[in-house]
């Protein structure tokens, strides 16, 4: 906890003259540390005590530190009462005033702390994951090349989207870009250590390290020519694998490691920051890009803007290339029609993969609303305070204080409060960020993304605090300006009440607060309902208790026809493990289907099939039984479906319904096409649908073939699925042993359970719901505090009126109704505004919502009811108090 204070103090020290900082800065921090170790400063209360001791002291010392330096000698020579002097006075005066009303100050600081803390947390997330995820130099000039093929899909692809000849075009014909390189991602088994390990690998053209702008930590990176010639068995390894696997041994350069059994010479180690998409091993492609077909689109292209080039210039270059390529090739390659190449900042291009941008910005919007609520609370507190102090202020005016000095005085107070709130917010954020970054999903943390309070976040928090000070400081100032009448002195008897305008302003604040709470609550409610809908989705299969892992058979040692038998043999062994109910292997499994093929129906021309893609899975016969697929017609795979037997396929219900409406597809013959290759198969069975593309998407049509008969979407890397009787992860050791028995060089990787896969799929949604839910609760609490304050203050102000009413015979209930009517009218106006706001903003969360409308009427109604109940409860206590005001006391209160 002390660390947060230290961080804030460090920041404050930056406001001091440089000479002071260099001379006393370290000493100051050492002293602060020593203070923090005193028993009275331990724990959360102690920290509060220490903060309220140290921060005002430091702020008070600030003007003195400046006035002591020679640089402000000019100021010193002014007549007494120069700017620095009066600033110092303002500050001292503000500190004194605030320390006289500590409860008020604490309320304000905590309210603002919650608001600013939430903003700091979300901004740190946004900064760490979306805005500045990578520690590359000059990151804004590092670009990724995105591509859109409108003929195929409207999505812009970045990773695995471009072909080698396209890379060569970009490299050779964009004058605005330099150091262009390309990479394809894959997995390789690396050995030459204790055990083989599967590592995430990039196959490159050019030198990605140069593109990233980083020098190698050891050795050298690739030379461009080296990546195009055959036979350069050289490798660059990541810093982390150098440490974890090779013990940070600097003699690694020049040593030989085995990659999929082949010897490679290590020529360099990347610096720690260079985690390109999380890859640990870089290998040269070893072939000229122009020798690879144009349709082999599995590369990503990165480059740097030349020193004087703009992003627009790069995009103009890219548009020229796209147009040229379209003219030259669109006759044979239809997808080039209207295709677009665009450069985007690398961080933007890559993090769009995680779709975190949207959630991040929605979240930032939500916390901005929260801060606005906190601000309105504080503003109405300050307003009441300003009313109470109007007496003091008129006295000071009468004594000759100029208006601008008074205003500056009030503003200094606001500033001090908001900086205090900023400090509290930093402390809250600091406490929350540790657990939050530990909970980051591995796909994100594996990229080297860190979430922490960094200078950018600190500056953000400071800016927010300043904006907050201006926002909530302005309204009481305006109020004071208006009431700047000499008359105030005369009527000092009523000095503690707000004028009519002030009261309206305060009711307006409250209505605004209610409106903002409605927006947040509706957002949280809609997300909650979407999440419930998602949990209720019938997957169509049973994913509980199933462990999955991937295994890639090295092409160097296994022929394609050996892949099927290997996995059948492996699953046979897995089934023999005690505690295993069933085991299978497949190229993909729900909810993550990636492989597809084109489908040509009986009697159709091949051209028609180009527009029709279906999911294509190669699986062992037990796949359906292991995952609990239900057979609806025909049969599943059996022993007779050997490698050379007639080719057969099982299809899912969606495929059957869509392409064979009203009849059974069993015994029909279909053609599966990919590129020039056509494979005719007979449908032998139909299985019930499962959510093969994830919870949120309707099942896609899917074709299954037996691994022995792999012809389409052929793959040498399969996932195994092991259904356990008990806890699936407990079987991992036995599963590894069984695999090792069959081939000791083939490591299992990407180990997970289907339940985890499903959980990851909804992770973003769950995080968004959780955070917005918390923010909504905080908003509700702040709003109810505001309502309580408004009602109790207005009861206090109306004691006389209430007393007279009671004296005239009104009973308690009538008084309660009177008070409640006032608050409920504010709630109704606020809710109406809030509902309008929710509807206006509904577009921004549409993408996060599933199965309900973002303006779901049930949620809207529930939120309004909830707010009304909360408002009634918050108002009930002061209202009851009002009902028990003795008439005489009320009349005497003047």
């Amino acid at each position: 906890m002390l660390k947060a204070l230290t961080l804030f103090v460090r920041f404050l020290l930056r406001l001091f003259p440089g000479s002071f900082r260099t001379r006393h800065g370290p000493e100051y921090l050492a002293t602060l540390n020593a203070l923090g170790e005193e028993p009275r400063h331990r724990g959360i209360v102690g920290l509060f005590r220490l903060t309220s001791f140290v921060v005002p002291d430091l702020l008070a010392a600030l003007p003195r530190a400046w006035s002591d330096t020679g640089s402000v000698d000019a100021l010193k020579s002014r007549p007494a009462g120069g700017t620095m002097e009066s600033l110092w006075q303002d500050l001292r005066y503000a500190i004194r005033t605030l320390s006289r009303s500590r409860v008020f100050a604490a309320t304000v600081i905590i309210s603002l702390g919650l608001g600013i803390g939430a903003n700091t947390i979300v901004y740190s997330l946004l900064d760490g994951v979306v805005l500045h995820p990578f520690a590359y130099p000059d990151p804004d000039r590092l670009v990724g090349i995105g591509v859109t093929f409108p003929k195929v899909s409207s999505d812009r692809g970045f990773i695995e989207s471009l072909s080698p000849p396209e890379f060569a075009d970009v490299r050779d014909s964009t004058p605005s870009l330099e150091r262009v390189s390309a990479f394809d991602l894959g997995n390789r088994a690396i050995s030459g250590g204790d055990r083989p390990e599967r590592v995430f690998t990039a196959f490159v053209w050019g030198d990605p390290l140069a593109t990233l702008g980083l020098p190698p930590a050891l050795g050298r990176s690739f030379r461009a020519a080296e990546t195009e010639e055959q036979g350069n068995a050289v490798a660059v390894i990541s810093h982390r694998i150098w440490q974890s696997r090779f013990g940070a041994d600097s003699s690694i350069i020049g040593r030989t490691v085995r990659v999929n059994g082949q010897p490679y010479t290590v020529i360099g180690v990347m610096p720690p920051a260079a985690l390109l998409m999380g890859t640990d091993l870089w290998l040269p492609m070893g072939v000229p890009p122009m020798r690879v077909p144009r349709q082999a689109r599995q590369w990503a292209i990165i480059g740097r803007l030349k020193p004087n080039a703009s992003l627009a210039a790069a995009n103009a270059d890219l548009a020229r290339i796209a147009a040229r390529t379209e003219r030259a090739y669109h006759a044979e390659l239809k997808e080039y029609e209207g295709w677009r190449l665009e450069a985007a900042p690398f961080a933007e291009a890559t993090t769009s993969m995680f779709q975190l941008r949207l959630a991040g910005f929605v979240m930032q919007g939500a916390v901005a609303l929260l801060l606005l609520i906190a601000c309105t609370n504080v503003a109405s507190l300050l307003l009441s305070r300003a009313a109470k102090r109007s007496g003091e202020i008129s006295v000071r005016q009468a004594l000759g204080a100029r208006a601008h000095r008074l205003l500056r005085q009030l503003f200094t107070e606001s500033l001090l409060l908001s900086l205090g709130g900023g400090a509290a917010g930093l402390a809250i954020a600091w406490a929350a960020l540790g657990p939050l970054s530990a909970a980051l999903p591995e796909e994100v943390s594996g990229l080297g993304i860190k979430i922490a309070l960094n200078p950018r976040v600190l500056i953000f928090t400071l800016l927010v605090s300043l904006v907050v000070a201006i926002f909530f400081g302005a309204s009481p100032i305006a109020q004071v300006l208006r009431s700047r009448t000499t008359a105030v002195l005369g009527q000092s008897g009523e000095r503690s009440t707000l004028g009519k305008r002030g009261r309206r302003l305060r009711a307006g604040f409250l209505a605004l607060q209610v409106a903002l709470s409605v927006v947040l609550l509706v957002g949280a409610g809609v997300l909650l309902r979407s999440f419930n809908r998602l949990q209720g989705v019938d997957l169509g299969f049973d994913g509980r208790g199933v462990l999955t892992a991937r295994l890639s058979l090295a092409r160097e040692t296994y022929q394609m026809e050996q892949v099927g038998p290997f996995f059948e043999q492996l699953t046979g062994r897995l089934r023999a493990i005690p505690g295993v109910k069933n085991a299978s292997a497949a190229t993909q499994y729900p909810p993550i289907n990636n492989f597809q093929t084109n489908l040509q129906l009986p009697g159709e021309t091949p051209e028609l099939s180009a527009a029709r893609t279906v999911d294509m899975t190669n699986a062992t016969a037990d796949f359906f039984a292991t995952l609990g697929y239900r057979l609806q017609a025909g049969r599943l795979f059996g022993d007779r479906d050997t490698e050379n037997a007639p080719l057969v396929a099982v299809v899912n219900q969606t495929l059957a319904r869509r392409f064979f409406p009203g009849r059974s597809p069993v015994a029909e013959r279909i053609v599966l096409r990919s590129g020039d290759q056509a494979t005719e198969v007979e449908i032998v069975g139909v299985v019930a649908d499962v959510r093969n593309r994830g919870l949120e998407v309707d099942p896609a049509p899917e074709v299954f073939m037996h691994v022995r008969q792999q012809r389409v979407a052929v793959n040498n890397q399969l996932f195994i699925q092991v259904r356990a009787a008990g806890e699936p992860m407990a079987l991992l050791g036995a599963i590894r042993d069984a695999t090792k028995d069959l081939d000791p060089d083939q490591p299992l990787y990407r180990i997970s359970t289907i339940e985890q896969d499903l959980g990851n799929a909804v992770l973003q949604r769950r995080a968004a719901m959780f955070l917005i839910g918390i923010f909504a609760i905080v908003a509700l609490v702040l709003a109810s505090v505001g309502m309580y304050g408004l009602v109790s203050q207005s009861v206090q102000e109306r004691v006389k009126e209430i007393g007279i009413r009671m004296a005239l015979g009104a009973d308690g209930n009538a008084i309660v109704r009177l008070v409640l009517r006032q608050i409920l009218s504010v709630v109704i106006i606020g809710s109406a505004l809030g509902l309008a706001g929710s509807i206006a903003l509904s577009g921004s969360i549409r993408a996060l919502v599933f199965g309900v409308s973002p303006t779901d009427p049930v949620t809207l109604a529930a939120v309004v009811v909830l707010l009304t109940v909360v408002a009634t409860c918050a108002a009930a206590i002061p209202a009851r108090r009002a009902a028990h005001v003795p008439a005489v006391a009320a009349v005497r209160s003047e």
Partner: protein
């Protein structure tokens, strides 16, 4: 005596700022580092005077600019961030002058009817 050959600065005008006076008193019996000065003042005054570190270091800098204190050898052995401060001859002179001034003030009060209240307070 200060070991440098700088011209000895003039004694500061009285009254001394409260913080500076207490710092001089804390250093009267030996060199201390910043935190030591803070705790010494607090103990000596039974908690009535408590300097914050910000006040302390701005005061120390001013005082060393004016020659009232000097930075002694750093305790580099244990912690390079702990600078020891020592009172200078000028500092002693200033502290005594300030105490005399206060003594005179006290005598002034003693000469009036306020003296009776002084005893009971």
């Amino acid at each position: 005596m200060p070991s440098n050959d700088r011209r000895l600065p003039a004694p500061p005008p009285l009254p001394l700022p409260v913080a500076e006076f207490h710092i001089l008193v804390a250093l009267a019996d030996g060199a201390r580092h910043g935190y030591g000065i803070m705790t010494d003042i607090e103990q000596r005054t039974d908690g009535a005077v408590r300097l914050g570190p910000g006040t302390l270091y701005t005061a120390l800098r001013r005082m060393s600019d004016r020659g009232l204190v000097e930075e002694g050898a750093t305790g580099a052995r244990e912690n390079p961030r702990r600078v020891n401060y020592r009172i200078t001859a000028l500092g002693r002179e200033a502290a005594v002058a300030e105490a005399r001034r206060m003594e005179k003030c006290l005598a002034l009060v003693r000469g009036t009817r306020l003296a009776a209240r002084l005893e009971t307070a």
